[in-house]
Symmetry: D2
Subunit: 244 residues, 4 copies
């Protein structure tokens, strides 16, 4: 799962000022009273009352001030994850590689760990257990065939896709033989509010492990751009801050 930063607009102070406009007020960064010019330079750090305001807004579900900052990323993930990613995309916009036009050799996701089916009583999609050991007829554990087998299947998929192209089948039809482990890639833009909503949904322990991995990458990127807001929206402590 790969999420690369492309661009962003705004900062924690933008959130504060979008909220303070209700009261027709405007705030500024805390100033450094020891700065050489004698009357304080902006520090890029929020005043304490502004950090508290952000915390109040997040706690009470006041989303709109968090809707002005924007973040664009480039994500590269397999189809079966992308299909979940694109559910409930309210507030996001994306542009994706299309295999109507592209017929390069596709790349496939291969899992590090094969997870076992969960107990029937559990609502999520997989349990904590990995699939059980493979034993030979003498009851001795052997290398599990799934990995070798999966790699072969992906090689066959590539071979067969290329076979169709060789037979002059249009790429838009040929792609249908490709497995859902195939990687796709897209630009995606959303507001800070939209990213926080998606993050909370996808980092949840009931979400599929592969999409949790994607969400962790969002977290690493966004917490450096909007430290106070992101912490408030996702219920984390802001990085490198003590008292808020």
């Amino acid at each position: 799962m790969k999420a690369d930063y492309i661009d962003h607009m705004g900062d924690d102070l933008r959130v504060v000022n979008a909220a303070r406009v209700s009261f027709d007020k405007e705030s500024d960064w805390a100033t450094d009273e020891n700065s050489p010019d004698g009357h304080g330079l902006p520090t890029g750090i929020l005043k304490e009352e502004d950090a508290r305001l952000i915390s109040y807004l997040a706690r009470n579900g006041h989303w709109t001030p968090f809707s002005h900052p924007m973040i664009t990323m480039r994500e590269t993930i397999p189809i079966f994850v992308a299909r979940q990613r694109f559910k409930h995309m309210v507030g996001f916009t994306y542009n994706e590689v299309s295999r109507r036009y592209v017929d390069d050799t596709p790349e496939f996701f291969s899992p590090d760990v094969w997870r076992a089916r969960p107990d029937a009583s559990i609502k999520q999609g997989s349990g904590d257990r990995t699939i059980k050991e493979f034993v030979n007829p003498y009851g001795e554990p052997e290398h599990h065939p799934v990995e070798h087998w999966f790699d072969r299947w992906m090689e066959d998929a590539e071979f067969n896709y290329n076979k169709l192209l060789e037979w002059d089948v249009a790429p838009e039809q040929a792609r249908m033989v490709l497995p859902q482990s195939m990687y796709t890639s897209y630009y995606v833009t959303g507001s800070l509010a939209a990213w926080a909503r998606a993050y909370k949904q996808r980092i949840d322990s009931h979400a599929q492990k592969e999409i949790q991995d994607l969400a962790k990458q969002w977290d690493a990127i966004i917490q450096t751009l909007f430290p106070v807001s992101w912490a408030a929206l996702t219920g984390q402590r802001p990085v490198g801050t003590g008292t808020i």
Copy 2:
């Protein structure tokens, strides 16, 4: 490609009245002056000036009156088509079968016609031509192997998916070996305006043939529910009307 009618709300008169509210006016169906009660029963047919209003609204891009009527369908289409379908879903909401939870035998789409790659100069995804005949080493035409070959590939996919399940792999991971020709199914709800926008995009000759087939089914359903509005929005003549 299958689209089944589930439910709808509103009719052509709703569109008229949502527009006439700007002028604080309300209209009604044309009445049948020959009705036995002597003063006219509503006919379920728009008055001529109301049909003209709808035509004016559509021509001038006044979308909001068409946003109150709603239509819900159940669609069953292959993944590679569904991924296009869900692009630009602004104004639609959907709920889909999830193979995190479902591990039934999957079904696969199989094309009637294999289309050839388009000429390089053409922007769409396939040309009008089908793939060229298959000839044996003696230069004699033979049955093209693609179909037999494709059916085998789908059988293998099913076999391998079941193999993974047998090895106790969680369905949410096992599904990644399934090809993108696999059918999925979902409820989808949108306003008349949203359906018209989607229809115009998907019935376009540059759209993939398979998604055009889906759009034709929308057309067949919606034109009976909103004959005047649908004709105005999609640039068709309404079914069974003469002069509008």
Copy 3:
């Protein structure tokens, strides 16, 4: 504040089936085992497990199954309330009377109770107290002039608006002299999910009293249409049900 029912689509069972499609399942109403035909008629009441499912969906923020049912209303409220109503209209669509085209005598909202400014420490817009008694120079309580005074101001507004029209000023400019207590009216359509979100925001004790009054009318209408879903989404007990 007036909200009138116009139309709706769907019922509690629709929510259930939009959710159960994830598991490729479909449910039906509970049946009456004592029905004369001997094998049970649908009762229009959810099975217990379906009512529990709705409760689970609402509690866990799974909004999409609630996005298929739709409700259209006609609301008539003053401008200063409508401006709040239209904030955060995500998921709603509306068409409103326009005073660019309409120049009828406007109507004005007149409050039953004049509320006092809240204590400085309180975040909401008005306190529980009404404005204090009016006393004459002898310290005797007198009829508070605000009501008479307000009625006169509204009469003046109407007179002055008509004066502008008489002077041939275009209605689209003349309307700017009208006070924000002026009633406006519109059709508004949204999904059950959108209505529930709006309701919870507007019924909140921090919301302006006038918009709480509007929200109460939504409640009265929607709880009869979607008794189980509405109760689950708004944290109320469904009307006329015992055990859920």
Copy 4:
């Protein structure tokens, strides 16, 4: 009507690359072959084929690549214009001064020109004519009373608003006596696509003159940020370009 630039994200090249991702391609600015380093510096000007691509996208209604760039403005406009502005705000988000919390002396818009009611046959809200001259009983033209009269009415409104506050009426109720010419102010953020849609709707000759004035300010700001895209979306020639 006032629109002030606050921030933006992206440029014309972002639009190009969001579109070229379909083909898994990426473009860059044209380079200056005469630059001193000998192999060309980026110029901040699009390559010709990229400018043509943007033109193609706009002409064919491919909106999504224009949905990644974002623009935030601060607008200050009267209520009767803001109410139109906020119609069809799909794709915009805003945060506004609230007179539940603010009770400063309000400011009012005063028109330079009083426009006459349009001919009955015309669909727009006002004609090209200004209101007719005012003549005294001797048939002599006199200074039209409307301006003096309007100024007085605004003074009265302010006086009466303050009277209500003095009587301890909560600002959230007191505001209802304020006329719709009162200025409001808000932050508003939308994608380049959303701004273009709004611009085309509001610059239209049928739109109210006051909102056309607002749209002109958007135009002045956005054409410098996204010269090629804005020209393509709005049907203008890009500023300072010759041949595109």
